[in-house]
């Protein structure tokens, strides 16, 4: 069955060198740090969320 969890928000996270290393996401109201790995199920969920017209916010 499809992953039915809700992506509440997503933002890019850069490391101290300014490299984009992960996504800070709130999924079903839980904050988690999602790797940039397409085999990761939360990354796949965020991809679906993006395909629906949403955009990952830029890093602070």
């Amino acid at each position: 069955m499809e992953d039915t969890r809700t992506v509440n928000s997503a933002q890019k996270i850069n490391d101290e060198q300014g490299d984009y290393v992960c996504i800070k996401a709130v999924i079903n109201s839980v904050e988690m740090f999602v790797p940039l790995d397409n085999n990761n199920k939360e990354r796949a969920l965020i991809k679906t969320w993006e395909d629906a017209g949403n955009t990952i916010a830029e890093a602070d």
Binding site: T4, V21, C22, L36, K41
Partner: protein, 403 residues
């Protein structure tokens, strides 16, 4: 010819010694009137002592081969021992490692508690996954579903040779105990080729080992990667969207209405429970008499295999250093390669510097963790230690690379 108590059979020099069966094709060796060894018409051997072969594979002798099902004896539960009030939304992985609680609520009222439960009334097993209905649902909407799944990577199911002319059968075995006799189902779903096959079993009030046979499937190969290829789905509740058709007792393209036709519901009474343990999946076709014994792994082996998919809070003790007054850095290395780069979720907890000082971790700042380890920076409230001080603390983060 009468019985011969003692004899010597001399083979000829051209053909050697032959035991030739009648037209049934089977050969049996008996002792005191009881068959001790039999060879069937396909050449498979079984002995009364328990050794058997299927499709030429020697079943009980699987040296250096791990069980296909991970955590089949339900020993490992890194997340939680019990989660209550489930059923309102997809449960994902609440309790016992590797068992996804897949739920589509569709407005249904059914609720349950999932428990990693100790058992003492079944030889060899000490833990189970218990599903206990706490709110009944007797008005089932068409779209409701609840099943317990283990999702298996493609690389781990190549032995079935699915999609080849030499494809082998599947045998699922599991121990189940429930409050009454009720029909449930185990669906095998090939997610690479969208094909499925389902078998029913009937629970009893005592532990019963159910052995279910699924035929070989010469259509559709499993992908050779680390994503889901095969799902073992134990169906406990379903609406008519999944039950209104005809059970797919042989492999076929997925027709949702056929999925688990004929099952009952764990939600139909608050007295209901289902306990499951000893889940195994074997290559080949076995009966209750010929299926290999459950392969018990050591706790360490089992947990390491589970940690390819999930690592719990404070399971790792990486090198740790205060990098600022309000930040601490961890550089974890994993015991085993994870399936994919994991999602990191912070767990607030306390720690302390090796030469004094204490702090409380609050949230993640950065996670750059791959399949073998990496780096995570965690925010802390305030520290009484000094920057660059080494610290002693388990990684206050859960790492999730589940399927």
């Amino acid at each position: 010819m009468g019985d011969i108590m003692t004899c010597k059979i001399n083979a000829d020099t051209s053909d050697g010694l032959k035991l030739i069966s009648d037209t049934s094709g089977a050969v049996e060796i008996q002792s005191n009137g009881v068959t001790k060894v039999s060879i069937d018409s396909s050449g498979n051997i079984s002995t009364v002592a328990g050794m058997s072969t299927s499709n030429g594979n020697i079943a009980p002798l699987r040296p250096n081969v791990s069980p296909i099902i991970i955590n089949g004896d339900m020993m490992i539960s890194q997340r939680s021992e019990q989660v209550t009030g489930m059923g309102g939304a997809d449960g994902v992985y609440p309790t016992v490692d590797r068992y996804r609680h897949s739920i589509t609520n569709a407005g249904g009222s059914g609720r349950f508690t999932s428990t990693h439960e100790a058992v003492n009334d079944i030889a060899g097993f000490t833990e189970s996954l218990n599903i206990n209905c706490t709110t009944a649902d007797t008005s089932i909407a068409a779209g409701e579903e609840f099943h317990i799944d283990q999702r298996i990577e493609g690389r781990n199911v190549q032995g079935f040779q699915k999609g080849f002319s030499t494809a082998l059968g599947f045998t699922v075995a599991l121990y189940v105990k429930a409050q009454d006799a009720k029909v449930y189902a185990v669906e095998l779903k090939d997610t690479d080729n969208n094909r499925h096959c389902t078998k029913l079993f009937t629970s009893t009030t005592g532990w019963t080992r159910h052995v279910l046979n699924y035929p070989a499937d010469t259509t559709g190969k499993f992908a050779d990667d680390s994503n889901t290829s095969l799902e073992v789905k134990i169906w406990l509740h379903a609406g008519s969207n999944f039950t209104s058709g005809t059970l797919p007792s042989s492999w076929q393209s997925v027709t949702t209405a056929n999925t688990c036709a004929g099952i009952g519901s764990v939600y139909d009474n608050t007295d209901n429970f289902v306990s499951i343990t000893g889940l195994q999946l074997e290559v080949g076709t076995f009966t209750a008499d010929t299926i290999p014994d459950f392969q018990f792994e050591s706790l360490g082996e089992n947990k390491t295999r589970c940690q390819r998919y999930f690592i719990g809070d404070s399971e790792l003790f990486p090198t740790t250093q205060l990098t600022a007054a309000t930040a601490i850095q961890f550089t974890p290395q994993f015991r085993t390669e994870m399936r994919a780069a994991p999602t990191a979720t912070a767990v607030a907890t306390g720690g302390f510097g090796l030469v004094g000082g204490s702090y409380t971790t609050t949230s993640l700042a950065v996670s750059n963790i791959g399949i073998n380890g990496g780096r995570a920076a965690v925010n802390i409230d305030t520290s009484t230690g000094e920057v660059k001080q080494l610290c002693q603390q388990g990684l206050p983060v859960t790492l999730d690379a589940e399927l």
